[in-house]
Symmetry: C2
DNA sequence: CTGAAAGCGCTTACAG
DNA sequence: CTGAAAGCGCTTACAG
């Protein structure tokens, strides 16, 4: 402290006042001292600094995907001997005792990865004020918050799924999308639409639906689409859960998969493998997304990174048993 | 510090030596000073004590169950404004860069919940030496480590499942167990055996198998059991994953569920609801287990708790569409 | 193994 | 808004 005082041309008591956040210091002096303090990495003697830790904040996510992502983050975190925190933001806001943001500002993790980032400008400002670095993983797009992010190639994945059905010979292809307010759900839907149009079999409005990312939504929209007079021979779904719902709807209507109906999901959850027939899907590299987000966060902790850094990882079409050529 | 010195009848330098773990202090003096230090809750001045945090350590677990358990822990943790850490111990020991135990001793969480506790006496001693309180959740039983624990009523659950099949009229009931080294897998198997015997339809050796907690194991053992000349009309499985494998095996052999074969799982994973037919199962209250473990841990942090405290939560039979009366 | 004395780093109360 | 002086809590080097 004496050194800092000498360099700043002030007395030790003044440095002490800055350290303790007293108000009776000239703004100019304060700035100068703070600058030197930072440069010299000053630490209170005897202060045990809390061990560094990365916090992952989930806004409700398929359990399977959450764990995969945690595994990716953990791999990186272990290499650097950091701790790993877990927060799930309850879907029901009334259940939130304190905002996760307040909580994090008390806990002071070294950095935060936010998954399915539905956070507000206010929360973003709060974290920025607390100087806690932040990275978004698989954001469904709130482009108002300029945060470095990692996501998957939704567009390419949806195109690959569509082409797969076209190559099998399907021409009556239906699409069930995700919620309209979700940017990435739209990205998938529009990719399907574009791929179909380019192939010369434009998506018919009566075969397109807007659903939710849930089993129930797949069941409802599937029943409705498949009960039509001239039903689709193949369905592209917003995610695997919805696709499993469609499978159930198909069976309830006496349709066999894949003989009477081909179904494609999106995500690559474990359950897609356990169900019968195993689900053809577009796998998102959740583990890699977690690892990439952690690495990006570490880069951000080490020094500034362009705010709009965006890492996009490839998706993979996984062909299993729920798709086949159409019957006729 | 001066107060402590006075009360202990020593000089401040001696207290300082104890605080800094110097070796040149008489064992007796050290004990006396440490005692007073603890009683008075002495803290280094200026030391920012790290915010309290609970760490949950998983030994490979169904993703679904892990998240449910985390949710239960989080509910308690939020109430008390604690942090929540996550560690998954890789199944492959060579992947472990440093033992999770060493890592935890650096991180120093306020307490640890270990899930599926396959830890050694050495690790137990390490944590005890670090004075980190420990609770086991859903332990598969390593009774050598005397740790307070929370688990579910495996025996009662398996009995309920068996009685359900008996009440439906099944008399040709098969059982696929879990690994022999798993205490709770044996508990389930023995409960089935006992319930069958009491009902006067003892389990025939040719209908009993020892498997793994996996889809593949269910597929393999299911195929084999159902290909027998006089096959079972119902199968009790070690867990849901295995049961889903059995369902696939049945369909491959042209058997319909539940008309030709009834199947019961154990756990209550989400996928059991998404598959068709929805799986009858014994639900374990994973969220409650997490919450109970967290509460037990908080009690342990607040003061001593009998080492053999064991909380056992009830399981519930969930009847869905994979069970029905036998055909004949 | 322990204490009296000196010292270190920080903070506080006072004066201007 | 700032510094010289006094003080506080802890540690260190020395002596026995």
């Amino acid at each position: 402290m004496a050194t800092i005082a000498r360099l700043a041309g002030v007395s030790p008591p003044t440095v002490s006042r800055v350290l303790n956040g007293r108000s009776d210091v000239a703004a100019d002096t304060r700035r100068r001292v703070e600058q030197l303090l930072r440069e010299h990495g000053y630490r209170r003697p005897g202060a045990i600094l809390p061990s560094p830790r990365i916090e992952v904040v989930f806004y409700g996510l398929e359990t399977n995907l959450a764990i995969e992502m945690m595994r990716g983050v953990q791999a990186v975190v272990n290499e650097h001997d950091l701790g790993l925190g877990f927060t799930e933001v309850p879907a029901d806001p009334s259940a939130r005792q304190r905002s996760w943001c307040d909580r994090l500002l008390t806990q002071r993790p070294t950095g935060v990865i936010i998954v399915h980032s539905q956070f507000t400008a206010e929360q973003h400002a709060q974290l920025a004020a607390g100087a806690i670095p932040l990275v978004a993983a698989d954001p469904n797009g709130q482009p108002t918050q300029p945060v470095p992010s990692v996501s998957a190639a939704n567009w390419q994945g949806a195109v690959a799924a569509t082409r797969h059905l076209l190559e099998l010979g399907h021409r009556q292809i239906g699409v069930i999308g995700g919620p309209v307010e979700s940017l990435y759900a739209r990205e998938r839907m529009e990719a399907c639409r574009a791929a179909l149009e380019i192939a010369g079999v434009p998506l018919r409005p009566r075969l397109a639906r807007t659903g939710e990312f849930s089993f129930e939504s797949g069941l409802a929209h599937g029943s409705e689409l498949l009960s039509q007079p001239d039903p689709p021979t193949a369905l592209l779904c917003a995610n695997d859960l919805q696709a499993l719902g469609v499978c159930k709807a198909a069976r309830q209507l006496g349709l066999r998969i894949p003989q009477d109906l081909s179904v494609v999901g999106f995500d690559g959850i474990d359950a897609g493998n356990w169900c019968d027939p195993a689900l053809t899907t577009v796998r998102q590299p959740f583990r890699d997304i977690g690892a990439a987000a952690a690495n990006l966060l570490l880069a951000l902790i080490a020094g500034p990174v362009p705010a709009l850094t965006r890492v996009e990882l490839p998706t993979t079409l996984v062909v299993r048993d729920s798709t086949a050529p159409p019957r006729s």
